[in-house]
């Protein structure tokens, strides 16, 4: 074996060994929405990746082992929680060989623990009620106030993991919160004339949006979470729409729109497609632009309704 061959082998082995200390903290989030918030907080001190995309239904992501590779090197894993990712995240975490990102680990932050959760079942729960989340509604990032709290929690955790940049994380989280507060006032002012208006949605994804907008849940196209709407249920919704004056049906872009279209046709209501998360629409590149787009689409439909 020549020196040249030996040096090639040494180079190859060196490529397989861990590299020098990284400048940026590696943050992996389960969803694109959480990633956009982590980017706001992490700035140049964090390198953020996400496991699922905004165009995907976050309940049904494949537990593709190549995603476990992202988790292997993660300094922090941020998940939504409330069993949103229960169908795919646990096997990835187990495959990752990263002990600190196990639930409760110091490099695991479950965003749900930072916010007040809605739709927590108060009575006994079983699956005759559909595939519901027994811990409460996990779709809390439709609320900018809760997004600000998640940002704060991410900032605090990043500060613990990377104390040298703790002040920067806290400052950026606070600045993001301030920006959202200003945007919230603007969005609320625009939506104010429509307070009390009822909306249909596909799945119970809008509880948090209703809370800060004053819009009201008129019903869901799914009779129970995760179950397809039978014609009788849609017929009931048509009656409800006529009785309660429901003029807008909101469906995330990853859902089939046929049921929504049917109800829209029979009631004259407008079907609105919204991104399910940041990245769910080409125009929803950041958290603010995502909420802005959701507000804009709903506003357009409400304004166009007599």
């Amino acid at each position: 074996m020549t020196i040249r061959e030996l040096s090639r082998i040494a180079l190859l082995l060196a490529a397989l060994l861990p590299g020098p200390a990284r400048a940026a903290v590696k943050v992996v989030t389960t969803t694109e929405g959480l990633a956009s918030i982590a980017r706001e907080v992490g700035g140049a001190d964090a390198e953020v990746q996400h496991l699922s995309r905004g165009v995907q239904d976050p309940h049904f992501v494949d537990a593709n082992p190549t995603l476990a590779l992202k988790l292997r090197a993660a300094d922090l894993l941020v998940d939504v929680g409330l069993e949103l990712e229960v169908g795919w995240l646990p096997p990835l975490v187990n495959q990752s060989r990263n002990p600190d990102i196990q639930p409760g680990g110091r490099r695991r932050l479950t965003a749900a623990s930072a916010v007040a959760v809605l739709d927590v079942p108060t009575g006994p729960v079983d699956r005759s009620m559909g595939d519901l989340h027994p811990g409460g509604n996990p779709h809390f990032l439709t609320d900018p106030r809760r997004a600000a709290l998640v940002a704060k929690a991410i900032g605090a955790r990043l500060g613990e993991l990377d104390p040298a940049h703790a002040a920067g994380y806290a400052e950026r989280a606070a600045a993001f919160g301030k920006r959202l507060e200003a945007a919230l006032a603007r969005w609320q002012a625009e939506l104010a004339p429509y307070k009390g208006k009822r909306l249909f949605s596909q799945h119970k994804t809008l509880s948090y949006l209703h809370e800060w907008t004053g819009l009201v849940d008129g019903g869901e196209l799914e009779p129970r979470p995760g179950t397809p709407p039978p014609p009788a249920h849609l017929a009931r919704l048509v009656e409800v729409a006529k009785r309660d004056g429901v003029k807008v049906i909101v469906v995330e872009s990853y859902y089939d729109t046929r049921s929504g279209e049917q109800v829209a046709r029979l009631t004259g209501a407008r079907l609105v497609s919204i991104p399910g998360d940041v990245g769910g629409d080409p125009a929803a590149k950041s958290y603010e632009s995502y909420v802005d787009l959701v507000v804009r689409r709903i506003l357009d439909a409400l304004r166009a309704s007599p």
Binding site: P65, W88, Q95, A114, V117, L149, P228
Partner: protein, 357 residues
């Protein structure tokens, strides 16, 4: 209770950031000390035109020729939890027509350095693709004939240790080395078994994942100086657009079994078998599939490869129940052909851990 009041206050239209918070008391922080408990039951209505027992013996469901027979397949009870910060445990008990048993019961380490992970207990061998899955994770109702004829009647597995190393490569490459006592044929004494496997996964493009696996095993064979080698290659390709619940999954496995030193020239030698299947999941509710397989025939006086063609239609009432209709055309060496049909019901209750890809 506090949560309800707070939610009520928020619903009243309070808009400040601070009031949306209830840090640390949300369900995300609820401690859970009970293991996840689940039960998965499966039963089949089976019809085969010919005498499967004599012509094509197998571990999958079959009944007397020409009669529609209800068959209880299996009830699996799973208990799964983290043991401590260093390991988790998975226990699978199985109840079938032959009685109760422990399908698997093992701990998995969570905190070993160097990309290592060890499973210890009684476990399925890290061999091939289907062998590591429980029947309720299969797309088809039964296993390919070659799996039971060349690898193990049920699943290759038993008490022992599986050491897996995740290589520091840009794609997923996991190397397994296992030492176990396995019983490829039910009721026989266990055999010392050494298993090696390299499993690799890579994303070819967005929504296109390729998995390639190579497996090998050496087992003791009764008789001095005799042994059994198993070789396997498996391929898995899943195509799923990010925005869709629908997908196409192509899967194939090739099995080879070599017996050496038995002193019987009719037994010594290599036998081949395998299968290739395609499954198309149509949205949330439906899936259809096709499978071709080949395995050494076990019918008296009909040596050679037996080939079977299977069509499958699955209906999912929800994520927790499915009804499958499966029809097969079985072609034995020498031209004899058999027809079979299965109607299988499977349900799952409780919290069952998500399956690996």
């Amino acid at each position: 209770m506090k949560g309800i009041w707070l939610a009520a206050a928020l619903a009243a239209g309070v808009g400040s950031v601070a009031q949306a918070q209830q840090a640390g008391t949300g369900p995300g922080a609820t401690p859970r000390l009970l293991p996840d408990i689940s039960a998965i039951g499966s039963g089949v209505l089976v019809w085969n035109r010919d005498d499967v027992e004599a012509l094509s013996p197998r571990s999958g469901p079959s009944g007397p020729a020409g009669k529609v027979t209800p068959v209880f397949q299996e009830l699996e009870v799973a208990l799964q939890a983290v043991v401590d910060p260093f390991a988790r445990a998975d226990v699978y008990l199985t109840f079938g027509p032959e009685g109760a048993g422990v399908e698997e019961a093992y701990v998995t380490t969570l905190a070993l350095p160097g990309g290592l992970q060890i499973k210890a207990g009684t476990l399925h061998s890290p061999w091939g693709r289907l062998n590591q899955q429980h029947p309720h994770a299969w797309d088809f109702v039964d296993a390919p004939l070659a799996a039971s004829r060349l690898v193990a009647a049920e699943a290759l597995g038993g008490p022992g240790l599986d050491v897996a190393w995740l290589a520091p490569l840009p794609w997923f490459a996991e190397l397994h080395l296992a030492y176990q006592e396995t019983t490829p044929l039910e009721g026989e004494p266990g055999r010392r078994t050494l298993v090696g496997r390299l499993a690799q996964f890579t994303d070819l493009a967005e929504g296109a994942t390729l998995g390639v696996g190579l497996s090998a095993a050496r087992l003791d064979e009764p008789g001095a100086g005799a042994w059994r080698d198993l070789y396997g290659a498996d391929l898995y390709l899943k195509l799923r657009p990010a925005t869709s619940r629908s997908y196409l999954a192509l899967q194939a496995e090739l099995y080879a079994r070599r017996l050496s030193g038995t002193g019987d020239p009719a037994v010594d030698g290599t036998r081949l078998g395998g299968y290739a299947q395609a499954v198309y999941r149509i949205g949330r509710d439906w899936a259809v599939g096709g499978r071709w397989e080949t395995a050494p025939s076990l019918a008296d006086g009909r040596p050679g490869p037996e080939q079977r063609f299977t069509a499958l239609a699955s209906w999912y009432t929800s994520e927790f129940m499915r009804l499958r209709l499966q029809g097969s055309y079985d072609r034995l060496p020498g031209g004899k052909a058999g027809l079979e049909a299965l109607l299988a019901l499977e349900f799952s209750i409780g919290v069952h851990g998500a399956h690996p890809f």
